[in-house]
Protein backbone atom coordinates (compact mmCIF):
# COMPACT_ATOMS: atom_id res chain seq x y z
CA UNK A 1 0.00 0.00 0.00
CA UNK A 2 1.28 3.41 -0.83
CA UNK A 3 0.88 6.60 1.15
CA UNK A 4 -0.74 8.36 -1.81
CA UNK A 5 -3.51 5.78 -1.88
CA UNK A 6 -3.93 6.03 1.89
CA UNK A 7 -5.10 9.57 1.70
CA UNK A 8 -8.24 8.58 -0.14
CA UNK A 9 -8.86 5.81 2.34
CA UNK A 10 -11.03 7.05 5.21
CA UNK A 11 -9.87 4.31 7.55
CA UNK A 12 -6.12 4.92 7.27
CA UNK A 13 -5.82 7.66 9.93
CA UNK A 14 -7.86 5.59 12.36
CA UNK A 15 -5.69 2.56 11.72
CA UNK A 16 -2.59 4.65 12.48
CA UNK A 17 -4.08 6.21 15.60
CA UNK A 18 -5.79 3.03 16.84
CA UNK A 19 -3.00 1.74 19.14
CA UNK A 20 -2.67 5.11 20.90
CA UNK A 21 -6.44 5.49 21.07
CA UNK A 22 -6.87 2.07 22.67
CA UNK A 23 -4.10 2.88 25.14
CA UNK A 24 -5.77 6.15 26.12
CA UNK A 25 -9.23 4.63 26.49
CA UNK A 26 -7.91 1.62 28.41
CA UNK A 27 -5.43 3.27 30.73
CA UNK A 28 -6.62 6.87 30.97
CA UNK A 29 -10.37 7.21 30.49
CA UNK A 30 -11.30 4.03 32.38
CA UNK A 31 -9.12 4.86 35.43
CA UNK A 32 -10.54 8.41 35.51
CA UNK A 33 -14.08 7.04 35.39
CA UNK A 34 -13.18 4.58 38.17
CA UNK A 35 -11.93 7.47 40.31
CA UNK A 36 -15.18 9.37 39.89
CA UNK A 37 -17.06 6.17 40.83
CA UNK A 38 -14.78 5.67 43.82
CA UNK A 39 -15.79 9.06 45.23
CA UNK A 40 -19.33 7.70 45.71
CA UNK A 41 -18.20 4.58 47.60
CA UNK A 42 -18.33 4.14 51.35
CA UNK A 43 -15.33 3.69 53.61
CA UNK A 44 -14.83 2.68 57.22
CA UNK A 45 -11.81 2.22 59.44
CA UNK A 46 -12.37 -1.53 59.72
CA UNK A 47 -14.54 -2.45 56.75
CA UNK A 48 -12.38 -0.67 54.13
CA UNK A 49 -13.94 0.40 50.82
CA UNK A 50 -17.54 -0.63 50.22
CA UNK A 51 -18.71 -0.43 46.61
CA UNK A 52 -22.07 1.22 47.22
CA UNK A 53 -23.48 4.45 45.81
CA UNK A 54 -23.74 7.13 48.50
CA UNK A 55 -23.12 10.84 48.74
CA UNK A 56 -21.34 10.62 52.12
CA UNK A 57 -17.96 11.91 50.92
CA UNK A 58 -19.47 14.71 48.89
CA UNK A 59 -21.67 15.73 51.80
CA UNK A 60 -18.65 15.76 54.10
CA UNK A 61 -16.71 18.03 51.71
CA UNK A 62 -19.73 20.33 51.33
CA UNK A 63 -20.50 20.66 55.05
CA UNK A 64 -17.20 20.33 56.93
CA UNK A 65 -15.60 23.82 57.05
CA UNK A 66 -12.17 22.15 57.03
CA UNK A 67 -12.57 21.45 53.30
CA UNK A 68 -13.85 24.94 52.52
CA UNK A 69 -10.78 26.35 54.28
CA UNK A 70 -8.46 23.94 52.47
CA UNK A 71 -9.90 24.67 49.00
CA UNK A 72 -9.92 28.38 49.88
CA UNK A 73 -6.21 28.18 50.69
CA UNK A 74 -5.51 26.19 47.52
CA UNK A 75 -7.15 28.75 45.25
CA UNK A 76 -5.83 31.76 47.22
CA UNK A 77 -2.28 30.48 46.77
CA UNK A 78 -2.92 29.78 43.08
CA UNK A 79 -4.31 33.29 42.48
CA UNK A 80 -1.46 35.04 44.32
CA UNK A 81 1.10 32.91 42.47
CA UNK A 82 -0.54 33.78 39.16
CA UNK A 83 -0.51 37.52 39.97
CA UNK A 84 3.13 37.41 41.03
CA UNK A 85 4.25 35.58 37.87
CA UNK A 86 2.26 37.98 35.66
CA UNK A 87 3.57 41.12 37.38
CA UNK A 88 7.21 40.01 37.16
CA UNK A 89 7.21 37.62 34.19
CA UNK A 90 5.54 39.86 31.62
CA UNK A 91 8.02 42.78 32.01
CA UNK A 92 10.91 40.31 32.01
CA UNK A 93 9.74 38.73 28.75
CA UNK A 94 9.52 42.24 27.25
CA UNK A 95 13.05 43.09 28.42
CA UNK A 96 14.39 39.78 27.11
CA UNK A 97 12.80 40.39 23.75
CA UNK A 98 14.70 43.67 23.37
CA UNK A 99 18.10 42.09 24.02
CA UNK A 100 20.74 41.19 21.45
CA UNK A 101 20.65 37.70 19.99
CA UNK A 102 23.39 36.04 22.03
CA UNK A 103 22.40 37.53 25.40
CA UNK A 104 18.79 36.76 24.62
CA UNK A 105 19.37 33.04 24.15
CA UNK A 106 21.69 32.91 27.18
CA UNK A 107 19.14 34.47 29.54
CA UNK A 108 16.32 32.51 27.96
CA UNK A 109 18.21 29.33 28.84
CA UNK A 110 18.67 30.50 32.45
CA UNK A 111 15.02 31.46 32.85
CA UNK A 112 13.39 28.59 30.94
CA UNK A 113 15.90 25.93 31.94
CA UNK A 114 14.46 25.50 35.47
CA UNK A 115 11.24 24.33 33.84
CA UNK A 116 12.93 21.02 33.17
CA UNK A 117 14.84 20.75 36.45
CA UNK A 118 13.28 18.57 39.12
CA UNK A 119 10.66 20.42 41.17
CA UNK A 120 11.99 18.64 44.27
CA UNK A 121 15.47 20.08 43.72
CA UNK A 122 14.12 23.59 43.06
CA UNK A 123 11.86 23.53 46.13
CA UNK A 124 14.73 22.17 48.21
CA UNK A 125 16.65 25.27 47.11
CA UNK A 126 13.90 27.49 48.50
CA UNK A 127 13.77 25.50 51.72
CA UNK A 128 17.52 26.17 52.10
CA UNK A 129 17.12 29.87 51.29
CA UNK A 130 14.19 30.29 53.69
CA UNK A 131 15.57 27.95 56.37
CA UNK A 132 14.06 29.12 59.65
CA UNK A 133 14.54 32.64 61.05
CA UNK A 134 18.18 32.96 60.06
CA UNK A 135 17.79 31.74 56.50
CA UNK A 136 19.76 33.41 53.74
CA UNK A 137 16.81 35.45 52.46
CA UNK A 138 16.07 36.90 55.89
CA UNK A 139 19.75 37.67 56.55
CA UNK A 140 20.01 39.45 53.21
CA UNK A 141 16.81 41.46 53.68
CA UNK A 142 17.78 42.45 57.23
CA UNK A 143 21.32 43.51 56.35
CA UNK A 144 19.90 45.52 53.44
CA UNK A 145 17.61 47.22 55.94
CA UNK A 146 14.44 46.17 54.10
CA UNK A 147 13.01 44.45 57.18
CA UNK A 148 13.83 44.68 60.86
CA UNK A 149 12.51 41.30 61.99
CA UNK A 150 12.84 38.02 60.14
CA UNK A 151 9.79 37.05 58.06
CA UNK A 152 8.65 33.46 58.59
CA UNK A 153 8.79 31.81 55.16
CA UNK A 154 8.87 28.11 55.98
CA UNK A 155 5.46 26.58 56.74
CA UNK A 156 3.64 29.74 55.64
CA UNK A 157 1.54 30.67 52.65
CA UNK A 158 3.98 33.49 51.85
CA UNK A 159 6.78 30.98 51.39
CA UNK A 160 4.56 28.68 49.34
CA UNK A 161 3.55 31.51 46.99
CA UNK A 162 7.17 32.65 46.47
CA UNK A 163 8.48 29.13 45.79
CA UNK A 164 5.51 28.29 43.54
CA UNK A 165 5.92 31.55 41.61
CA UNK A 166 9.53 30.57 40.96
CA UNK A 167 8.50 27.10 39.77
CA UNK A 168 5.77 28.52 37.48
CA UNK A 169 7.62 31.61 36.20
CA UNK A 170 8.99 29.95 33.02
CA UNK A 171 5.44 29.21 31.82
CA UNK A 172 4.50 32.89 32.10
CA UNK A 173 7.69 34.14 30.45
CA UNK A 174 7.24 31.61 27.61
CA UNK A 175 3.65 32.58 27.04
CA UNK A 176 4.32 36.34 26.95
CA UNK A 177 7.43 35.68 24.87
CA UNK A 178 5.31 33.85 22.28
CA UNK A 179 2.90 36.83 22.15
CA UNK A 180 5.83 39.24 21.69
CA UNK A 181 7.07 37.23 18.72
CA UNK A 182 3.86 38.04 16.89
CA UNK A 183 4.28 41.75 17.57
CA UNK A 184 5.53 43.94 14.75
CA UNK A 185 8.42 46.09 16.10
CA UNK A 186 7.55 48.79 13.58
CA UNK A 187 4.33 49.56 15.44
CA UNK A 188 6.35 50.57 18.48
CA UNK A 189 8.55 52.79 16.32
CA UNK A 190 5.49 54.28 14.67
CA UNK A 191 4.05 55.18 18.09
CA UNK A 192 7.34 56.82 19.07
CA UNK A 193 7.54 58.77 15.83
CA UNK A 194 4.04 60.09 16.45
CA UNK A 195 5.24 61.50 19.77
CA UNK A 196 4.24 58.83 22.27
CA UNK A 197 6.56 58.53 25.27
CA UNK A 198 7.90 55.19 26.49
CA UNK A 199 5.18 54.79 29.15
CA UNK A 200 2.37 55.64 26.74
CA UNK A 201 3.82 53.24 24.19
CA UNK A 202 3.93 50.41 26.69
CA UNK A 203 0.45 51.15 28.04
CA UNK A 204 -1.32 51.81 24.75
CA UNK A 205 0.62 49.75 22.20
CA UNK A 206 2.49 46.89 23.90
CA UNK A 207 0.13 45.96 26.73
CA UNK A 208 -3.01 45.39 24.63
CA UNK A 209 -1.05 43.18 22.25
CA UNK A 210 0.66 40.97 24.81
CA UNK A 211 -2.42 40.71 27.04
CA UNK A 212 -3.62 37.45 25.40
CA UNK A 213 -0.17 36.00 26.13
CA UNK A 214 -0.33 37.12 29.76
CA UNK A 215 -3.82 35.67 30.14
CA UNK A 216 -3.06 32.30 28.57
CA UNK A 217 0.09 32.14 30.71
CA UNK A 218 -2.06 32.97 33.72
CA UNK A 219 -4.41 30.06 32.96
CA UNK A 220 -1.50 27.62 32.79
CA UNK A 221 0.11 28.96 35.96
CA UNK A 222 -3.19 29.01 37.84
CA UNK A 223 -4.17 25.44 37.00
CA UNK A 224 -0.69 24.09 37.72
CA UNK A 225 -0.45 26.02 41.03
CA UNK A 226 -3.88 24.91 42.21
CA UNK A 227 -2.90 21.27 41.70
CA UNK A 228 0.76 21.57 42.77
CA UNK A 229 2.00 18.93 45.16
CA UNK A 230 5.77 18.99 45.79
CA UNK A 231 6.17 22.68 46.65
CA UNK A 232 3.20 22.90 49.07
CA UNK A 233 4.23 19.61 50.67
CA UNK A 234 7.84 20.67 51.30
CA UNK A 235 7.38 24.40 52.06
CA UNK A 236 3.92 24.14 53.64
CA UNK A 237 4.75 21.18 55.83
CA UNK A 238 2.19 18.82 57.28
CA UNK A 239 -0.13 21.48 58.69
CA UNK A 240 -0.87 23.78 55.74
CA UNK A 241 -2.75 21.41 53.44
CA UNK A 242 -3.78 22.16 49.88
CA UNK A 243 -5.99 19.98 47.67
CA UNK A 244 -3.17 17.86 46.25
CA UNK A 245 -1.43 17.22 49.57
CA UNK A 246 -4.74 16.44 51.28
CA UNK A 247 -5.64 13.90 48.58
CA UNK A 248 -2.18 12.36 49.02
CA UNK A 249 -2.76 12.05 52.77
CA UNK A 250 -6.16 10.43 52.32
CA UNK A 251 -4.73 7.91 49.88
CA UNK A 252 -1.44 6.99 51.48
CA UNK A 253 -1.84 7.76 55.20
CA UNK A 254 -5.49 7.70 56.25
CA UNK A 255 -6.31 5.19 53.48
CA UNK A 256 -9.76 6.75 53.05
CA UNK A 257 -9.61 6.39 49.28
CA UNK A 258 -13.23 7.39 48.53
CA UNK A 259 -12.81 10.72 50.34
CA UNK A 260 -9.47 11.33 48.60
CA UNK A 261 -11.10 10.50 45.26
CA UNK A 262 -13.87 13.02 45.97
CA UNK A 263 -11.29 15.76 46.73
CA UNK A 264 -9.41 14.92 43.52
CA UNK A 265 -12.59 14.81 41.43
CA UNK A 266 -13.69 18.18 42.78
CA UNK A 267 -10.27 19.66 42.02
CA UNK A 268 -10.35 18.26 38.47
CA UNK A 269 -13.89 19.50 37.76
CA UNK A 270 -13.21 22.94 39.24
CA UNK A 271 -10.02 23.33 37.20
CA UNK A 272 -11.56 22.11 33.94
CA UNK A 273 -14.46 24.55 34.37
CA UNK A 274 -12.16 27.47 35.20
CA UNK A 275 -9.70 26.71 32.40
CA UNK A 276 -12.28 26.03 29.68
CA UNK A 277 -14.38 29.01 30.79
CA UNK A 278 -11.54 31.51 30.84
CA UNK A 279 -10.11 30.15 27.56
CA UNK A 280 -13.46 30.77 25.90
CA UNK A 281 -13.63 34.28 27.39
CA UNK A 282 -10.12 35.15 26.25
CA UNK A 283 -10.65 33.80 22.75
CA UNK A 284 -13.86 35.76 22.35
CA UNK A 285 -12.31 38.94 23.73
CA UNK A 286 -9.15 38.66 21.64
CA UNK A 287 -10.55 36.80 18.64
CA UNK A 288 -8.55 38.88 16.16
CA UNK A 289 -5.23 38.05 17.84
CA UNK A 290 -5.74 34.32 17.60
CA UNK A 291 -6.69 34.36 13.95
Amino acid sequence: MSMAADERNGRAPWALAAPALMLFVGVLLIPLAMTVMLSFHDWGQYKGIEPVFILKNWREIATDPYYAEMFGRTFRIAILTTLLTALLGAPEAYILNRMDGRWKSFFLLIILGPLLISVVARTLGWALLFGGNNGLVNKLLMSAGVIRFPIPFMFTETGMVIALAHVMMPFMVLSVWAALQRLDPQIENAAMSLGAGPITTIRRIIMPQIMPGVLSGAIIVFSLSASAFATPAIIGGRRLKVAATLAYDEFLNTLNWPLGAAVATLLLVALVLIVVGSNALIERRYAEVFR
Binding site: P13, P31, P91, I95, L116, L124, L128, Y248, V272
Partner: protein, 268 residues
Protein backbone atom coordinates in the same frame (compact mmCIF):
# COMPACT_ATOMS: atom_id res chain seq x y z
CA UNK B 1 14.72 53.48 20.92
CA UNK B 2 14.88 49.73 21.39
CA UNK B 3 17.49 49.64 24.14
CA UNK B 4 16.84 48.64 27.72
CA UNK B 5 17.34 51.49 30.19
CA UNK B 6 19.31 51.19 33.47
CA UNK B 7 16.16 50.62 35.55
CA UNK B 8 15.00 47.75 33.37
CA UNK B 9 18.48 46.23 33.49
CA UNK B 10 18.44 46.33 37.31
CA UNK B 11 15.05 44.60 37.25
CA UNK B 12 16.40 42.05 34.79
CA UNK B 13 19.49 41.36 36.92
CA UNK B 14 17.45 40.85 40.09
CA UNK B 15 15.03 38.63 38.18
CA UNK B 16 17.78 36.40 36.84
CA UNK B 17 19.45 36.19 40.27
CA UNK B 18 16.19 35.12 41.93
CA UNK B 19 15.52 32.57 39.18
CA UNK B 20 18.98 31.05 39.52
CA UNK B 21 19.36 31.36 43.32
CA UNK B 22 17.56 28.20 44.53
CA UNK B 23 19.37 26.04 42.00
CA UNK B 24 22.75 27.60 42.76
CA UNK B 25 22.28 27.31 46.51
CA UNK B 26 21.51 23.58 46.21
CA UNK B 27 24.63 23.04 44.12
CA UNK B 28 26.79 25.11 46.51
CA UNK B 29 25.59 23.45 49.71
CA UNK B 30 26.29 20.07 48.09
CA UNK B 31 30.01 20.91 48.26
CA UNK B 32 30.06 21.80 51.95
CA UNK B 33 32.78 20.14 54.04
CA UNK B 34 30.64 20.46 57.19
CA UNK B 35 28.35 17.82 58.62
CA UNK B 36 25.35 20.14 58.56
CA UNK B 37 23.59 22.43 56.09
CA UNK B 38 25.85 25.39 55.33
CA UNK B 39 27.38 27.23 52.44
CA UNK B 40 30.94 26.02 51.86
CA UNK B 41 32.83 28.83 53.62
CA UNK B 42 36.04 26.98 54.40
CA UNK B 43 36.88 24.97 51.31
CA UNK B 44 35.02 22.70 48.96
CA UNK B 45 34.61 19.03 49.68
CA UNK B 46 33.20 16.07 47.84
CA UNK B 47 32.32 14.21 51.05
CA UNK B 48 28.56 14.44 50.48
CA UNK B 49 28.91 13.13 46.93
CA UNK B 50 30.91 10.18 48.28
CA UNK B 51 28.26 9.74 50.99
CA UNK B 52 25.66 8.93 48.31
CA UNK B 53 27.54 5.65 47.86
CA UNK B 54 26.53 4.64 51.40
CA UNK B 55 22.85 4.97 50.59
CA UNK B 56 22.04 2.19 48.14
CA UNK B 57 18.39 3.27 48.03
CA UNK B 58 19.41 6.46 46.19
CA UNK B 59 21.54 4.52 43.73
CA UNK B 60 18.76 2.00 43.18
CA UNK B 61 16.20 4.80 42.75
CA UNK B 62 18.47 6.45 40.19
CA UNK B 63 18.56 3.29 38.06
CA UNK B 64 14.79 2.88 38.40
CA UNK B 65 14.31 6.48 37.18
CA UNK B 66 16.76 6.04 34.32
CA UNK B 67 15.21 2.78 33.11
CA UNK B 68 11.70 4.07 33.57
CA UNK B 69 12.42 7.28 31.68
CA UNK B 70 14.21 5.58 28.79
CA UNK B 71 11.68 2.78 28.39
CA UNK B 72 8.48 4.77 28.83
CA UNK B 73 9.65 7.48 26.41
CA UNK B 74 10.53 4.82 23.84
CA UNK B 75 7.16 3.08 24.24
CA UNK B 76 5.35 6.43 24.08
CA UNK B 77 7.02 7.10 20.73
CA UNK B 78 5.93 3.71 19.37
CA UNK B 79 2.36 4.88 19.92
CA UNK B 80 2.93 8.55 19.17
CA UNK B 81 4.67 8.33 15.78
CA UNK B 82 1.77 6.64 13.93
CA UNK B 83 -0.73 8.83 15.77
CA UNK B 84 1.24 11.94 14.79
CA UNK B 85 1.32 10.82 11.14
CA UNK B 86 -2.45 10.30 11.23
CA UNK B 87 -3.07 13.77 12.69
CA UNK B 88 -0.50 15.56 10.51
CA UNK B 89 -1.53 14.06 7.17
CA UNK B 90 -5.22 13.41 7.20
CA UNK B 91 -8.25 15.60 7.61
CA UNK B 92 -10.92 13.37 9.11
CA UNK B 93 -13.90 13.69 11.38
CA UNK B 94 -12.90 13.43 15.02
CA UNK B 95 -9.35 14.62 14.29
CA UNK B 96 -9.54 17.55 16.70
CA UNK B 97 -11.13 15.43 19.42
CA UNK B 98 -8.42 12.80 18.97
CA UNK B 99 -5.66 15.40 19.25
CA UNK B 100 -7.33 16.87 22.33
CA UNK B 101 -7.54 13.42 23.95
CA UNK B 102 -3.87 12.72 23.22
CA UNK B 103 -2.80 16.07 24.71
CA UNK B 104 -5.18 15.79 27.70
CA UNK B 105 -2.57 14.42 30.16
CA UNK B 106 -1.12 17.95 30.05
CA UNK B 107 -4.42 19.36 31.31
CA UNK B 108 -5.29 16.80 33.96
CA UNK B 109 -3.56 17.51 37.29
CA UNK B 110 -0.92 14.89 37.99
CA UNK B 111 -2.34 14.31 41.45
CA UNK B 112 -5.62 13.22 39.81
CA UNK B 113 -3.73 10.99 37.38
CA UNK B 114 -1.78 9.46 40.26
CA UNK B 115 -4.98 8.64 42.13
CA UNK B 116 -6.68 7.26 39.02
CA UNK B 117 -3.69 5.05 38.19
CA UNK B 118 -3.34 3.88 41.80
CA UNK B 119 -6.99 2.85 41.88
CA UNK B 120 -6.80 1.24 38.43
CA UNK B 121 -3.58 -0.72 38.87
CA UNK B 122 -4.47 -1.86 42.38
CA UNK B 123 -7.74 -3.32 41.07
CA UNK B 124 -5.82 -4.91 38.21
CA UNK B 125 -3.45 -6.56 40.70
CA UNK B 126 -0.47 -4.52 39.47
CA UNK B 127 -0.20 -2.16 42.45
CA UNK B 128 3.35 -0.98 43.13
CA UNK B 129 4.79 -2.87 40.16
CA UNK B 130 7.34 -1.54 37.67
CA UNK B 131 4.94 -2.42 34.82
CA UNK B 132 2.31 -0.10 36.29
CA UNK B 133 4.88 2.71 36.53
CA UNK B 134 5.87 2.20 32.89
CA UNK B 135 2.29 2.32 31.60
CA UNK B 136 1.47 5.39 33.72
CA UNK B 137 4.59 7.18 32.51
CA UNK B 138 3.82 6.35 28.87
CA UNK B 139 0.54 8.25 29.33
CA UNK B 140 2.06 11.33 30.98
CA UNK B 141 4.96 11.70 28.53
CA UNK B 142 2.82 10.91 25.47
CA UNK B 143 1.82 14.57 24.78
CA UNK B 144 5.48 15.64 24.66
CA UNK B 145 6.45 12.80 22.33
CA UNK B 146 3.41 13.53 20.15
CA UNK B 147 3.93 17.30 19.93
CA UNK B 148 7.51 17.19 18.69
CA UNK B 149 6.85 14.29 16.30
CA UNK B 150 3.81 16.16 15.01
CA UNK B 151 5.86 19.33 14.42
CA UNK B 152 8.39 17.30 12.40
CA UNK B 153 5.72 15.44 10.42
CA UNK B 154 3.84 18.65 9.61
CA UNK B 155 6.93 20.46 8.39
CA UNK B 156 8.16 17.51 6.31
CA UNK B 157 8.67 17.76 2.56
CA UNK B 158 6.24 15.26 1.08
CA UNK B 159 7.76 15.34 -2.42
CA UNK B 160 10.62 13.10 -1.26
CA UNK B 161 8.07 10.49 -0.25
CA UNK B 162 6.30 10.79 -3.56
CA UNK B 163 9.58 10.28 -5.37
CA UNK B 164 10.19 7.11 -3.32
CA UNK B 165 6.67 5.87 -4.13
CA UNK B 166 7.23 6.53 -7.83
CA UNK B 167 10.40 4.43 -7.59
CA UNK B 168 8.37 1.56 -6.19
CA UNK B 169 8.87 1.92 -2.43
CA UNK B 170 5.81 1.14 -0.41
CA UNK B 171 4.49 0.50 3.06
CA UNK B 172 7.11 -0.41 5.61
CA UNK B 173 10.11 0.32 3.35
CA UNK B 174 8.77 3.78 2.64
CA UNK B 175 8.36 4.45 6.36
CA UNK B 176 11.69 2.99 7.42
CA UNK B 177 13.88 4.37 4.64
CA UNK B 178 12.22 7.71 3.86
CA UNK B 179 9.64 8.96 6.36
CA UNK B 180 11.36 7.99 9.60
CA UNK B 181 14.78 9.46 8.69
CA UNK B 182 13.05 12.70 7.71
CA UNK B 183 11.17 13.08 10.99
CA UNK B 184 13.99 11.63 13.10
CA UNK B 185 15.20 14.95 14.63
CA UNK B 186 11.67 15.56 15.91
CA UNK B 187 11.37 12.00 17.17
CA UNK B 188 14.69 12.14 19.03
CA UNK B 189 13.90 15.51 20.58
CA UNK B 190 10.49 14.14 21.52
CA UNK B 191 12.20 11.22 23.21
CA UNK B 192 14.57 13.51 25.12
CA UNK B 193 11.81 15.83 26.31
CA UNK B 194 9.65 12.85 27.26
CA UNK B 195 12.60 11.36 29.13
CA UNK B 196 13.12 14.54 31.15
CA UNK B 197 9.41 14.69 32.01
CA UNK B 198 9.43 11.09 33.17
CA UNK B 199 12.72 11.44 35.02
CA UNK B 200 11.44 14.48 36.95
CA UNK B 201 7.87 13.47 37.70
CA UNK B 202 7.05 13.32 41.37
CA UNK B 203 3.37 14.11 41.83
CA UNK B 204 1.97 11.18 39.86
CA UNK B 205 4.73 8.70 40.64
CA UNK B 206 4.54 9.22 44.41
CA UNK B 207 1.13 7.49 44.34
CA UNK B 208 2.36 4.45 42.41
CA UNK B 209 5.86 3.81 43.71
CA UNK B 210 6.36 1.13 46.33
CA UNK B 211 9.60 0.20 48.13
CA UNK B 212 11.74 -1.25 45.34
CA UNK B 213 10.09 0.77 42.57
CA UNK B 214 10.73 4.20 44.06
CA UNK B 215 12.08 6.67 41.54
CA UNK B 216 14.74 9.23 42.43
CA UNK B 217 12.34 12.19 42.86
CA UNK B 218 10.11 10.02 45.08
CA UNK B 219 13.07 8.84 47.15
CA UNK B 220 14.30 12.45 47.48
CA UNK B 221 10.84 13.70 48.43
CA UNK B 222 10.36 11.05 51.12
CA UNK B 223 13.85 11.79 52.43
CA UNK B 224 13.15 15.55 52.62
CA UNK B 225 9.91 14.84 54.49
CA UNK B 226 11.99 13.40 57.33
CA UNK B 227 14.97 15.73 57.36
CA UNK B 228 16.94 18.06 55.12
CA UNK B 229 20.70 17.49 55.24
CA UNK B 230 23.61 18.01 52.81
CA UNK B 231 23.15 14.47 51.43
CA UNK B 232 19.94 15.36 49.65
CA UNK B 233 21.59 18.47 48.19
CA UNK B 234 24.37 16.43 46.64
CA UNK B 235 21.80 14.02 45.18
CA UNK B 236 19.89 17.04 43.85
CA UNK B 237 23.09 18.45 42.36
CA UNK B 238 23.57 15.17 40.46
CA UNK B 239 19.98 15.31 39.19
CA UNK B 240 20.46 18.92 38.11
CA UNK B 241 23.65 17.91 36.28
CA UNK B 242 21.86 15.09 34.40
CA UNK B 243 18.99 17.39 33.40
CA UNK B 244 21.32 20.22 32.39
CA UNK B 245 23.24 17.85 30.11
CA UNK B 246 20.03 16.71 28.43
CA UNK B 247 18.92 20.34 28.23
CA UNK B 248 22.09 21.57 26.55
CA UNK B 249 21.93 18.70 24.05
CA UNK B 250 18.29 19.55 23.30
CA UNK B 251 19.18 23.21 22.85
CA UNK B 252 22.05 22.38 20.48
CA UNK B 253 20.11 19.97 18.32
CA UNK B 254 16.67 21.43 18.31
CA UNK B 255 16.49 24.84 20.05
CA UNK B 256 15.15 25.10 23.55
CA UNK B 257 12.49 27.70 22.76
CA UNK B 258 11.08 25.43 20.02
CA UNK B 259 10.98 22.46 22.38
CA UNK B 260 9.32 24.35 25.21
CA UNK B 261 6.93 26.48 23.20
CA UNK B 262 5.78 23.34 21.38
CA UNK B 263 5.65 24.93 17.96
CA UNK B 264 3.53 23.02 15.47
CA UNK B 265 0.89 22.49 18.10
CA UNK B 266 -2.34 20.95 16.91
CA UNK B 267 -4.36 23.62 18.65
CA UNK B 268 -6.26 26.04 16.45
Amino acid sequence: MRRNGPLTLIFHTLFVIVMAAPILVVCLVAFTPEGFLSLPTNGFSLRWFRAIGNYPEFIHAFWVSLGLGALSSFLALLFAVPAALAIARYRFRGRDALAALFLSPLMIPHVVLGIAFLRFFTSAGLGGSFAALIIAHVIIVFPFALRLTLAAATGMDRTVEMAAVSLGAGGWTLFRRVTLPLILPGVISGWALAFIQSFDDLTMTVFLAAPGTETLPVRMFLYIQDNIDPLVTSVSACVIAVTMTALILLDRFYGLDRVLAGKGDTGR
